[in-house]
């Protein structure tokens, strides 16, 4: 599990190249590279822009580490709920 946390942190750091925030270009790259297997519409840049606007709490046009984590948390929760749901169906 420590490895998973490390992955979450290093993925952000690699995409931001050491900066504090992701600009929209790097955010788009990150989503396409990392979430294409999980989320729909990752190939549409307008959908990603829409998502970025939703995440952008302080409206600075960038995605901070905290804003990035809220996306991870959201997706992980959705994945978990789906998993629980399918378990309940199976039993």
């Amino acid at each position: 599990m420590e490895a998973a946390i490390k992955t979450i942190v290093t993925t952000f750091i690699n995409s931001s190249r050491g900066k504090d925030n992701l600009d929209s270009k790097s955010f788009q790259k990150l989503v396409q590279k990392q979430f294409s297997g999980t989320m729909e519409d990752t190939d549409s840049s307008s959908a990603i822009k829409e998502m970025q606007r939703g995440l952008d709490e302080n409206s600075d046009g960038k995605v901070s580490f905290e804003e990035y984590l809220s996306l991870i948390g959201y997706v992980a929760n959705a994945m978990s709920e789906r998993k629980c749901g399918s378990n309940a169906d199976a039993s």
Partner: protein
């Protein structure tokens, strides 16, 4: 809710002093309170509810997807140890932290760390930690890691 999370300060470094005390759940409560319970936000992020996850898991998951899968698997592995299969009891949380976060726990000198974390994570006070509450632990640890990294960067830049 935000008061609840700002009480705990832990440091990830073994020396304890190097990076200073990091506000542990500084952001997690604020994050959780909206990304989990506010349906309007799901629309704002462009993910209608129920969100547009793909029906089938990817054949070649990315690093990040693998990491998220792992978090879910770990959570459910420990959650299944008693009757409440979708939540962690205090005992299960202790087991999870001892086995999965041993390096983190080693840096904690306070023997009550786990009790404090349990109290802080259990947002609805039912004595059980559900997955949403568990995610705030992951968020807190990730923020702490990132801050350690930034401190490290600044230190190396100064040298």
């Amino acid at each position: 809710m935000s008061n609840r999370v700002q009480r705990v300060h832990v440091s990830l470094t073994h020396s304890g002093a190097a990076a200073g005390a990091v506000p542990f759940y500084k952001t997690s409560a604020a994050l959780l309170s909206h990304f989990c319970s506010d349906p309007a936000l799901l629309h704002r992020i462009g993910l209608p509810q129920p969100c547009k996850l793909k029906q089938l898991p990817a054949a070649m998951p990315s690093d990040l997807e693998t990491a998220m899968q792992l978090l879910i698997t770990v959570f459910h592995r420990y959650a299944a140890k008693d009757d409440h299969n979708n939540t962690l009891s205090r005992r299960e949380l202790r087991l999870l932290m001892e086995n999965e976060l041993s390096n983190f726990l080693k840096s904690q000198k306070d023997p009550h760390t786990i009790d404090k974390i349990m109290k802080d994570l259990d947002a609805n006070g039912d004595g059980q930690v559900d997955f949403e509450e568990f995610v705030s632990l992951v968020v807190g640890l990730s923020v702490a890691c990132e801050q350690c990294y930034q401190t490290h960067l600044k230190k190396t830049a100064r040298q």
